[in-house]
């Protein structure tokens, strides 16, 4: 469909010249170049997605106006973005992600609304999900705000304990040899097992929830930090030993920065763990929160809303991770 392909179907090179002439000399050339620039994968997918809208619906009870609007908006903002930051890596990434989104949306719509081959309860149409997404915004925002406290305290506590403990245990050989088997036995304990104990031992339900998040996020961060210490090059450690750095300087100025890449990976997984456990943590006497909401709703087999809840969780994680990324870029600027 690209103009290149059009040319290729014409035999001979003088033919090509004719076509160019026909296209109007220089102006024509510019016009095709312009067209060519528009012929990117996301744009083509966008057109395909728009065409898909004209197929007849089999699930007839839904309006797709909002959904179509969203697609239009996505396509348009990409066009603008791509135009502004031409040739930029970010534009490329945005295009790739958008293509992925378009393909998923297209398949999803095709299989649900258009062909209706999937179970209606488990697989709502994208239009319905979008509708719900907008309708549930206040509830989800309130829920996210409610969860944020539990998350931040639990996850924060996990980071604040697991990183120093991991650094020290990783650095002191004897501790490392002792800590490793402990992680083997305690790491795989389902955090939900601790719930009854947390309820009994801790004064409030909220603290119990925080504890569940804490314990879930702790192990990934701890294990990654513990093993990360070992990835520091031997010659750097020798260098530090020769300088006779004190333990504190050693940990903060050498071990910590050297382990940072691993710590950040651990923190990423720990954050995912926190969100996974949010549903379990908020089982404990909560009446709000994103996790509570998802669990509550999935207990009622309200899958469209479950999908919406997960989308919201994704949004929250992405926002939190955005801050993380900034910090990471800054802290690891010495690499490469």
């Amino acid at each position: 469909m690209k103009d290149m392909t059009v040319e290729a179907t014409l035999p001979g090179s003088n033919c090509r010249q004719k076509v160019a002439a026909w296209a109007g000399g220089r102006g024509g050339f510019m016009k095709t170049a312009w067209l060519k620039k528009l012929m990117t994968v996301p744009n083509i997918l966008f057109v395909a997605l728009v065409c898909l809208q004209f197929l007849p619906d089999r699930r007839t009870d839904e309006s797709a106006v909002l959904y179509q609007l969203l697609i239009g908006l996505l396509g348009a903002s990409y066009l603008v973005y791509a135009h502004l930051g031409r040739g930029n890596e970010r534009v490329q990434t945005a295009g790739d992600l958008l293509s992925l989104v378009f393909v998923s949306l297209g398949t999803w719509q095709l299989l649900t609304v258009k062909l209706d081959v999937l179970d209606k309860m488990l697989f709502p149409s994208p239009a319905l999900v979008l509708d719900l997404f907008i309708k549930e915004t206040p509830a989800a925002l309130k829920g996210a705000a409610g969860s944020l406290e539990i998350l931040l305290v639990g996850y924060g506590a996990a980071l604040l304990t697991a990183v120093p403990l991991g650094l020290v245990s990783g650095w002191v050989g004897r501790l490392k040899r002792t800590a490793t088997p402990i992680t083997r036995v305690l790491g795989p304990v389902p955090p939900t097992v601790y719930i009854p104990y947390a309820i009994v031992m801790l004064p409030t339900f909220k603290l119990s929830s925080m504890f569940v998040i804490f314990i879930g996020a702790f192990w990934p961060v701890f294990i990654n930090t513990l093993n990360g210490v070992h990835t520091i090059e031997g010659r750097l450690i020798d260098s530090a030993r020769v300088l006779k750095l004190g333990s504190r300087t050693m940990i903060t100025k050498v071990i910590f920065p050297g382990t940072l890449p691993s710590i950040i990976t651990g923190a990423t997984i720990g954050l995912a763990m926190s969100f996974i456990l949010l549903t379990a943590a908020e089982m404990i006497g909560a009446t709000s929160g994103l996790g509570w909401w998802v669990k509550y709703i999935s207990d009622f087999a309200d899958y469209p809303r479950v999908i919406v809840g997960i989308l919201y969780a994704g949004v929250v994680v992405t926002v939190i991770m955005f801050g993380f990324d900034k910090a990471e870029k800054h802290l690891l600027r010495w690499r490469r």
């Binding site: 309820i199 339900f205 006497g285 909560a286 509550y296 009622f300």
Partner: protein
């Protein structure tokens, strides 16, 4: 006249179930406050966690099915059942073409049935099969799943022949084209579901509070009996599903709300749990059921409102 007193803080645990409507009514209509209680409702999505909160004293009262408290009693927890919540309401769903054969428990032999372990209906069906002479361990393949949603999907997909569910999932299942083939009430008529439980020590120390708590629930029961539309509205705040389903469950289904502890049925259920091999306990469960609290509350209310028909009906049904 109780309103001017200092309100007493009272933590109550509940599940998001239509059957807990009396809590919601008593809270929303201010009955708890009028009785001098500052009730905080805590939602649990897992009966086990709720029971832990009861045994650790973090909750003053709560209702988490019938099986879990009985289990905890069998394990040696010192808790007391002092009130009722609802009864019956569970059922078995199957695809319409298969529904007919599930009418009779005898036909269950060789079938695959999905269930969520320890829910009331599960106990009733297993006990029922036991009484019919079917060894559910050998003759029936029971698939235990983790959620009613999973049971529903498994039945719809045909990986299992039938599934045991409870409100509102029975209605939901019907909406999805399944049929309710057999009700739990048909097997064990009037079997209890969620019971009000608390630590025995708490009940002994503050019995007056529990009487007032039961008074509020009895008043809520009367409200439920007389004001369907508002009941549905209130319930929908706590159980976020379609109001039509709620209404059907609350008023046109086979779910019966009642604050009566129903001692005999609890004892019966205890035996069923033994039959279903969920417990094997020679304990006398009578000792863990307190009917006095309910009676005191009911008697007091009848004295104050001698004309209230619902109170009289409850009194008539009550057996110590």
């Amino acid at each position: 006249g109780a309103a001017d007193r200092e309100l007493k803080r009272f933590n109550v645990g509940y599940l998001a179930s239509t059957g807990h409507a009396m809590y919601f009514i008593a809270k929303e209509k201010g009955y708890f406050e009028q009785e001098g209680l500052d009730v905080q409702l805590f939602l649990f999505t897992n009966s086990g966690e709720g029971m832990n909160a009861i045994t650790s004293g973090k909750l003053d009262a709560g209702s988490f099915g019938t099986a879990p408290p009985l289990l905890f009693i069998a394990k040696g927890a010192d808790i007391t059942i002092f009130g009722g919540q609802m009864s019956e309401g569970h059922g078995l769903v199957a695809k319409p073409e298969k529904a007919e054969q599930f009418k009779d428990l005898k036909n269950y032999r060789g079938k695959t049935i999905a269930t969520v372990r320890l829910q009331t209906g599960d106990v009733v069906f297993r006990g029922g099969l036991h009484h019919t002479g079917i060894d559910w361990k050998k003759d029936v393949t029971i698939k235990e799943l983790d959620s009613p949603g999973a049971v529903l999907e498994a039945v719809k997909k045909g990986s299992v022949d039938a599934g045991i569910l409870w409100p509102p999932f029975l209605t939901l299942a019907e909406q999805q084209g399944l049929k309710v083939a057999k009700l739990s009430g048909d097997i064990l008529s009037g079997h209890t579901c969620c019971r009000q439980v608390t630590l025995t020590s708490k009940l002994k120390a503050n019995e007056a509070d529990y009487v007032r708590f039961m008074r509020a629930l009895i008043r809520a029961h009367a409200f439920y009996k007389t004001t369907p539309d508002e009941t549905v509205d209130i319930t929908s705040k706590y159980v976020k599903i379609d109001k039509a389903i709620l209404k059907k469950d609350l008023y046109h289904g086979n779910l019966y709300l009642s604050p009566d502890p129903d001692k005999q049925m609890v004892i019966h259920f205890w035996d069923y749990m033994n039959d279903a091999e969920y417990i094997s306990s020679a304990k006398k469960v009578d000792a863990y059921i307190n009917t006095g609290t309910f009676r005191k509350a009911l008697d007091g209310l009848i004295r104050e409102y001698p004309n209230e028909k619902d109170y009289k009906a409850l009194k008539a049904a009550f057996r110590a």
